[in-house]
C-alpha cells in the first residue's frame, strides 16, 4: 500500500487555536478538512508537511444560513449537504448540480466546500506517485524545474479542477479569508479574484490564511444558470472541462450574463465579451452559438489533463451551448 509520510497530526479545538498554530508554522503545515484530496496527495508525496492540521471538526466553520442578503456557507459544509439542501436547489440549482457532480457519493460525504474551492491544481505529470515523478524527472510544480506540459514554460499550467468554483464565479460569490496575524483579521474577495493564474499555488491565500466562509449574494438568486462537466465516466472523474453559465433575465431577454470555463488552466477563465453578446437578446440557439464561439476562441486546453486536448477544445463549443440551453430551460 502507498504509505503516508511522517507528520504530526494536530486537531485544534477552535478556529483561533488553528490560526495560532498557523501563525507559527504556516509554511510547514497542511490544512485538511475532508481529506479526500489531501490524503492521496500526501501518499503521492505532493505535500510533505511537518504538521497536518485537521480542521474538519470545527463547528464554527460548519454552517449554512439562508439570509436576506444571500447564502452564507461555512467551508466545512460538505458537498453532499450542498447538493441536498432544498433552498440551495431552488435558488442556486446549478451550484447544487456542480457540487453533486464531484467524484462519487462517499467522497461528497467527506469532501467539503472549502476543500473543493482550495483544491490543489491537477496535472497528469503531477498527480502521480513519487516513483513515477522521479522516473519522469520532477516537474516545476514540485521538486523540479521543468514543465512537461509546456517544455519551454516557466510557469506551472496545472489545471484548476474544482467543480464548485466556476459556478460560484458565475454567481458572483465571495470568499471570506481569515489571517493569523493580526489575530481576528478577516477579508473578503470575490471568488473570481480568489484565484490566480499560477498552477503552483493558484489562489491568493497567504501562508497561514484560511477560507472561513463563502457568500453567494441575494442578487444571484433565481439567475438562469447552467453547469456542464465533461468527464469520461458518469462519476469519480475530475472535470476534463467545465462550463458555468449564469444570466439575469428580464422577461424573454437577457440583461447580463457570465460564462466561466475551467479545467483548462491554473485558474477558471471568465470569458470576456459575453455580457455584450447576450445583453438584450433572448437566450436562443443563435445566442448560445455566439456565446460558444466566443468561449472557443478564448480557450486553449493543454495536455495537462490526460484527455485529448483538441477534443476538449471542440467540446468547449458543445458544453457552452448546452450550459446556455440548460439556463434557458431553467429560466
Amino acid at each position: 500500500m502507498l504509505t503516508l509520510p511522517r507528520f504530526a497530526f494536530l486537531q485544534p479545538a477552535s478556529l483561533d487555536e488553528a490560526l495560532d498554530h498557523l501563525a507559527e508554522h504556516a509554511a510547514e503545515s497542511l490544512i485538511v478538512a475532508g481529506g479526500t484530496d489531501a490524503v492521496p496527495n500526501l501518499k503521492h508525496r505532493l505535500h510533505e508537511p511537518r504538521y497536518v492540521v485537521h480542521i474538519g471538526r470545527l463547528r464554527e466553520l460548519h454552517f449554512m444560513r439562508h439570509e436576506t442578503d444571500g447564502l452564507h456557507l461555512g467551508p466545512l459544509v460538505t458537498l453532499s449537504e450542498l447538493t441536498r439542501d432544498d433552498r440551495v436547489g431552488a435558488e442556486f440549482p446549478s451550484l447544487a448540480k456542480a457540487a453533486g457532480l464531484v467524484a462519487g457519493p462517499q467522497l461528497r460525504n467527506m469532501g467539503t466546500l472549502g476543500g473543493n474551492l482550495c483544491l490543489d491544481t491537477r496535472c497528469t505529470y503531477y498527480n502521480q506517485t513519487l516513483f513515477w515523478r522521479e522516473s519522469l524527472g520532477f516537474c516545476l510544480k514540485k521538486s523540479g524545474t521543468l514543465c512537461h506540459v509546456v517544455p519551454a514554460g516557466k510557469r506551472c499550467v496545472a489545471a484548476h479542477s474544482s467543480d464548485v468554483a466556476p459556478m460560484l464565479i458565475a454567481l458572483d460569490a465571495e470568499v471570506e479569508i481569515a489571517s493569523p496575524r493580526p489575530r481576528g483579521t478577516r477579508r473578503r474577495v470575490s471568488v473570481d479574484d480568489f484565484f490566480v493564474a499560477d498552477g503552483i499555488h493558484n489562489n491568493v491565500l497567504a501562508p497561514g490564511e484560511m477560507v472561513t466562509g463563502v457568500f453567494v449574494p441575494a442578487r444571484s438568486r433565481g439567475l438562469a444558470s447552467g453547469y456542464q462537466k465533461l468527464r469520461p465516466r458518469a462519476a469519480i472523474d475530475f472535470p476534463m472541462l467545465s462550463v458555468a453559465f449564469a444570466a439575469r433575465m428580464g422577461g424573454a431577454s437577457c440583461e447580463s450574463a457570465r460564462l466561466v470555463v475551467s479545467a483548462i488552466a491554473a485558474r477558471p477563465r471568465v470569458i470576456t465579451g459575453i455580457d455584450e453578446l447576450a445583453r438584450g437578446r433572448p437566450l436562443d440557439d443563435a445566442a448560445a452559438d455566439a456565446i460558444a464561439q466566443a468561449a472557443w476562441k478564448q480557450c486553449h486546453p493543454l495536455i495537462n489533463v490526460s484527455y485529448d486536448a483538441d477534443y476538449r477544445r471542440e467540446m468547449v463549443l458543445v458544453m457552452t451551448r448546452r450550459a446556455v440551453r440548460e439556463a434557458r430551460v431553467e429560466a
Binding site: 500500500m1 502507498l2 504509505t3 503516508l4 509520510p5 511522517r6 462519487g104 497528469t124 498527480n127 502521480q128 506517485t129 516513483f131 513515477w132 522521479e134 522516473s135 519522469l136 524527472g137 516537474c139 521543468l146 512537461h148 517544455p151 465533461l230 469520461p232 465516466r233 458518469a234 462519476a235 469519480i236 472523474d237 475530475f238 490526460s306 484527455y307 485529448d308 483538441d310 477534443y311 471542440e314 467540446m315 458543445v318
Partner: protein
C-alpha cells in the same frame, strides 16, 4: 522441465511388472492405464451428465456461494489480512528507465537505516523462471538489465512499509540507459535493441504461421471479400485486491508462502526452482483472493522476494503491491494489430480467411507462446471457416509484460473477425444473424484446424439473443444515434495439456466423510471469486444428499490438497467438477450399497437428498438421516474417503501446435448490444447487452449469470474506456512511463456507466462435462466488443475498428465524412428479407 528417462522411469517400470522383493502383489491390470493411453475416468450409468438419482436436488438451483457470507461481512481472510509474529515488510525498488543496463547497485546506505533488515538484488535470485517451460526469461530481480519502467531491481525488508520505502530511496543504482522500443513497429525496426536476450531472433518473442486449406483460391471464389485492419488496445485486469504475499521460512528450513495467486501449483514449482529448495520443503497457500482475471496466473517478483527475504532474515516477510505496482506487474491483454481478409458467397457461406496479426508482448514472454497460437487457433468455431490462414508474431517491447486476461489471446481476433462478418453481411445484403446461422458448425464435428467440437448450443444462443433483444424490430430501424449490433464467439473449457508436459491428472479431489455427517473436500482448485469452491460443494451435496452448510471445502493449499493446475483457461468447473463428481459418486455408491443391503432393496432405489437417505421403494420405513447413513457405512466399510481425478482425452490436430486450443468442450456465446450515441460529443452509451451463453449445464444459474454479466461488463469496459497506454518521450523525459497507474487515471466504468445486462442461459448438456457443464467465466466476454462496434455502425454509420471507442475517437470518425450517408445507405438496404424467409420471429 526436461524429462529424465534414466533411473526414475526404469524404477517405476520395475515396480509395475513384477512382485517386489518382499512379495508385494502386482497392481491389477484394470487399475493401471497402459503408457500409451491417457488416464480414463470411470463411466457412470446414464453418463456424466445424468443426476445421481432420478432428478437433481442441488444442481441447477440458484444456490448461494459458499464463501459469500464471509466476504460480504468482512470476515474473509485475504493475504494482506494475515500478520505473523515478528513479521517484516518488504518493498521493491523499480527501474526508472524503460531500458537500461544496471552498472552497479549500492545498498549500503539503505542497510544502515535503522529498522532495515535486509536488501537483496538480482545476484541473490539469479535463476530464470517463466510459466511456459520453453520460455523462461524472467528473474525475480533484474540482474543485468531493466526492461521497462517499473521492472524490479532490488528488495528491502524492514520493520514497516514506511521504513522499507525510505530505504529504497537510499539505494543507489547506476544505470546506463539504452534505446527503448515502445511499439510493435519500433520493435520490428530495431532488432539490435535485443530487449529480451532470450529471444531467438531480434525482438521476436514467438511467430506462428498455420494454413488450413487453400486460402488464396477460396478468396478468389468469393462473391465479396472484405479487408480490414483493426487495433486492439491493451488493457489490464485491475482486480480490486492487489498482489500480496506473506512468506515464512522457519528454523527447520521449511518455507510457507501465502499468496494471492490463481496457480498455487505452478507457483510451488517456480519457488522451488528459483529458491533452490526441494518442493517438499515448500507449502503454498492461496487464501481468499479478491479477483484475478488472469492477472495472478504465474509467479511474480513479490513471491520470490518475500520468500528470499524471509530466508535471509529468518523472519516472516510480507510484500503487498501498491496499485501502481499492479499496473507494472500487468500480464494484461496484449495490444494487437490485426489485418483480415475474409470472403463470402452470395448465399452467406464464408469461404476463407487470411489473418496477419502482430502482438505487443511487453518485456517478457509470460504465456506469450500460447497467446500467439491462441490468436489464430481459437477463431475456428462456431463458424465453418472455409479455408483459414494466420500469421501471428509476438514482439518484445519495453513495457510491462502482457499475458493472459479473461479470454486469453482470442478476444482481440474475435473483435476483428465479428466486425468482418458484419461488413460481409452488409456487402451481400444479409442480416448478420442469418449469416451466422448459415455458417454455424454442427455438434460433434471438427473445426478447420482439427479441434473436436462436441456439444454446441450456438444456434440456440443466436435465437435467444435475437428474440430477447427484439432484433428484427430494431436493426437498421432505430433513429440516428441509436443502434443495435450483434456478435458470436466460442471459448475453451480448459486446455487438454498441463503447461509442463506430464501424464498425471490435471485435477484431483480427495473427499472425507465424517461420522458427524459432514463432508470435507480437499482440492487444489483456485477460487478467485468465480466459484470453484462452490462448485465442489454443490457436487458433493448433490451426490451425498447434504445441504451446503454441511460441506467444507479446503482448497489450494499444497500441503493439504491434491494438485489442481489452477484457475486459468476456464478449466475449473469442467475439470475439478469431473474430479469431484467421481470422488463423490464412488462414496455415494458405497453408501447406497450398504443401505440397500440394510433395507433389502436395489442400490438404485436408494436416494440421498436434503440430509435424508431413504429407499424409494418404502420411504416411510426405510429412511434415516445422512449422518446415520454415513455411520452405518463407516461401520461396514471402514473409514469413508475417496479420490477422484480428471485427465482430458488426447485431443488436437496432428501438426505442430495442433494441441494448443484443443479443449474437451467449448462454450458458445451470442450478444446483442444496443447503444445510444451522442453525435455532438461522440459519447457512446451502451443501454443494454443481451448475453446468450451455452454453458452446457448451469450448476448454479445465479453463479453462471454472475460470470456472464461480469464478462459482458469487462468487454464493454475495454470497448469504451480501458487502455493500458504510456506517455510518449518528451524533451524532459524518456519513453515508457505508464499514462496513469491508478484507478483514477486508468478508467474503469462505474456502476452508473454500466449497461443493463440480461443473461440468457443456454444448456446444451455436454457429454463429458460434470452433469453436462462447460465454462462460463471467459467465453461471454468475447462478443461484447464487436457487438458494440457493430451497434455503433448501426447508430452512426461509422466503423470503429480501433479500440477504445472513446469520444475523441468517435468524433474523429464522424468528421472523416460520409458517415451520415453510409448510415442512410445501410438503412435503405433490404437486409431483413432473408431473415424473414428463414422464418425469424418478428
Amino acid at each position: 522441465m526436461k524429462g529424465k528417462p534414466g533411473r526414475a522411469a526404469a524404477g517405476s517400470k520395475g515396480a509395475k511388472s513384477a512382485p517386489g522383493p518382499r512379495g508385494t502383489p502386482e497392481i491389477p491390470a484394470d487399475r493401471m492405464m497402459p503408457a500409451e493411453r491417457r488416464l480414463e475416468p470411470p463411466r457412470w450409468p446414464g453418463g456424466r451428465s445424468a443426476p445421481p438419482g432420478s432428478t437433481f436436488a442441488v444442481i441447477g438451483k440458484r444456490n448461494r456461494k459458499v464463501e459469500g457470507l464471509a466476504k460480504v461481512t468482512g470476515r474473509a481472510i485475504y493475504a494482506d489480512d494475515i500478520t505473523l509474529p515478528r513479521m517484516l515488510h518488504g518493498k521493491l525498488l523499480r527501474s526508472i528507465h524503460a531500458h537500461a543496463r544496471i552498472k552497479s547497485i549500492d545498498a549500503s546506505a539503505a542497510l544502515a537505516l535503522p529498522g532495515v533488515h535486509a536488501v537483496i538484488t538480482g545476484k541473490d535470485l539469479p535463476e530464470y523462471y517463466g510459466i511456459i517451460p520453453w520460455t523462461q526469461d524472467e528473474q525475480a530481480l533484474c540482474e543485468e538489465k531493466a526492461r521497462y519502467v517499473g521492472d524490479a531491481i532490488a528488495a528491502v525488508a524492514a520493520d514497516s512499509e514506511l521504513i522499507a520505502e525510505e530505504a529504497l530511496r537510499l539505494i543507489r543504482v547506476e544505470y546506463e540507459p539504452l534505446p527503448a522500443a515502445m511499439s510493435i513497429d519500433e520493435s520490428l525496426a530495431h532488432p539490435e535493441y535485443r530487449i529480451n536476450e532470450k529471444a531467438r531472433e531480434g525482438n521476436i518473442s514467438k511467430q506462428v504461421r498455420l494454413e488450413f486449406g487453400d486460402v488464396g483460391a477460396a478468396l478468389e471464389r468469393s462473391d465479396a471479400v472484405v479487408e480490414g485492419e483493426y487495433w486492439y488496445e491493451g488493457s489490464t485486469h485491475a482486480p480490486i485486491e492487489p498482489h500480496c504475499a506473506v512468506a515464512d521460512f522457519d528454523a527447520t528450513g521449511f518455507l510457507t508462502l501465502i499468496s494471492s495467486t490463481q496457480v498455487a501449483h505452478y507457483l510451488h514449482r517456480d519457488l522451488a526452482r528459483v529458491l533452490g529448495l526441494p518442493t517438499q520443503r515448500i507449502r503454498v497457500i492461496q487464501p481468499v483472493v479478491g479477483g484475478a482475471f488472469g492477472g495472478k496466473s504465474e509467479a511474480f517478483s513479490l513471491e520470490f522476494c518475500a520468500a528470499k527475504l524471509s530466508m535471509v532474515t529468518g523472519r516472516p516477510v510480507k510484500i503487498l503491491y501498491t496499485r501502481e505496482e499492479v499496473f507494472y506487474a500487468h500480464r494484461g491483454r496484449h495490444p494487437m494489430r490485426l489485418r483480415y481478409r475474409t470472403g463470402i458467397r452470395r448465399d452467406g457461406t464464408l469461404t476463407g480467411t487470411d489473418a496477419l496479426i502482430h502482438i505487443d508482448g511487453g518485456a517478457y514472454s509470460s504465456f506469450g507462446l500460447v497467446t500467439t497460437y491462441y490468436s489464430g487457433q481459437l477463431l475456428t468455431a462456431p463458424y465453418r471457416m472455409g479455408a483459414y490462414r494466420f500469421d501471428s508474431t509476438r514482439v518484445f517491447t519495453n513495457k510491462p509484460c502482457c499475458g493472459p486476461k479473461r479470454g486469453h489471446g482470442s478476444v482481440q481476433p474475435r473483435f476483428a473477425f465479428e466486425c468482418q462478418i458484419d461488413k460481409l453481411a452488409e456487402a451481400i445484403g444479409m442480416d448478420p444473424f442469418e449469416v451466422r446461422r448459415r455458417n454455424t458448425m454442427d455438434s460433434n464435428s471438427r473445426t478447420v484446424n482439427d479441434l473436436r467440437v462436441t456439444s454446441n448450443g450456438f444456434l440456440e444462443c443466436l435465437a435467444a439473443a435475437e428474440r430477447a433483444s427484439e432484433w428484427g424490430r430494431k436493426f437498421r430501424r432505430l433513429p440516428y444515434g441509436r443502434g443495435v449490433g450483434m456478435a458470436g464467439s466460442m471459448y475453451i473449457s480448459g486446455t487438454n495439456y498441463c503447461i509442463y508436459p506430464n501424464e498425471m491428472p490435471q485435477s484431483a479431489v480427495q473427499l472425507k466423510l465424517d461420522r458427524s455427517g459432514r463432508a470435507t473436500v480437499f482440492c487444489g482448485a483456485s477460487d478467485i471469486g468465480q466459484g470453484s469452491d462452490s462448485v465442489l460443494a454443490y457436487i458433493v451435496c448433490e451426490e451425498l444428499g447434504l445441504t451446503l452448510g454441511d460441506v467444507r471445502v479446503v482448497a489450494a493449499d499444497t500441503d493439504l490438497t491434491p494438485v489442481d493446475l489452477g484457475s486459468y483457461s476456464s478449466r475449473e468447473t469442467f475439470m475439478v467438477g469431473n474430479a469431484c463428481l467421481d470422488a463423490a459418486r464412488k462414496l455415494r455408491n458405497d453408501i447406497a450399497g450398504v443401505l440397500a443391503g440394510e433395507w433389502g432393496c436395489p442400490p438404485e432405489a436408494v436416494t440421498l437428498a436434503g440430509g435424508v437417505a431413504c429407499s424409494m421403494r418404502d420411504p416411510q420405513r426405510h429412511a434415516m438421516s445422512v449422518r446415520d447413513a454415513f455411520q452405518l457405512a463407516e461401520s461396514r466399510l471402514g473409514t469413508l474417503g475417496s479420490v477422484g481425478w480428471y485427465q482430458s482425452p488426447k485431443l488436437g490436430g496432428d501438426y505442430r501446435g495442433g494441441t494448443i486450443g484443443a479443449s474437451p468442450a467449448y462454450s458458445f456465446t451470442a450478444h446483442v448490444a444496443e447503444v445510444e450515441c451522442d453525435p455532438e460529443t461522440g459519447r457512446v452509451g451502451v443501454k443494454k447487452i443481451w448475453i446468450a451463453h451455452d454453458c452446457g449445464r448451469a450448476l448454479s444459474p445465479v453463479a453462471v449469470e454472475g460470470q456472464m454479466e461480469g464478462s459482458a461488463y469487462m468487454g464493454f469496459a475495454e470497448a469504451l474506456m480501458e487502455e493500458q497506454v504510456f506517455k510518449p518521450a518528451a524533451p524532459g523525459h524518456g519513453p515508457g512511463l505508464h499514462d496513469g497507474p491508478s484507478l483514477l487515471d486508468y478508467r474503469i466504468p462505474t456502476s452508473l456507466d454500466t449497461p443493463d445486462l440480461e443473461s440468457l442461459i443456454v444448456e446444451s448438456v455436454d457429454p463429458e462435462g460434470p452433469y453436462g457443464a462447460k465454462e462460463a467465466g471467459e467465453g461471454p466476454l468475447h462478443p461484447s466488443i464487436p457487438a458494440i462496434a457493430n451497434a455503433i455502425y448501426d447508430a452512426l454509420g461509422i466503423r470503429c475498428d480501433r479500440l477504445p471507442f472513446y469520444p475523441p475517437a468517435v468524433m474523429r470518425l464522424l468528421k472523416a465524412g460520409e458517415a451520415r450517408s453510409r448510415w442512410e445507405r445501410a438503412r435503405a438496404q433490404v437486409a431483413p428479407a432473408v431473415g424473414a424467409a428463414a422464418g425469424r420471429p418478428r
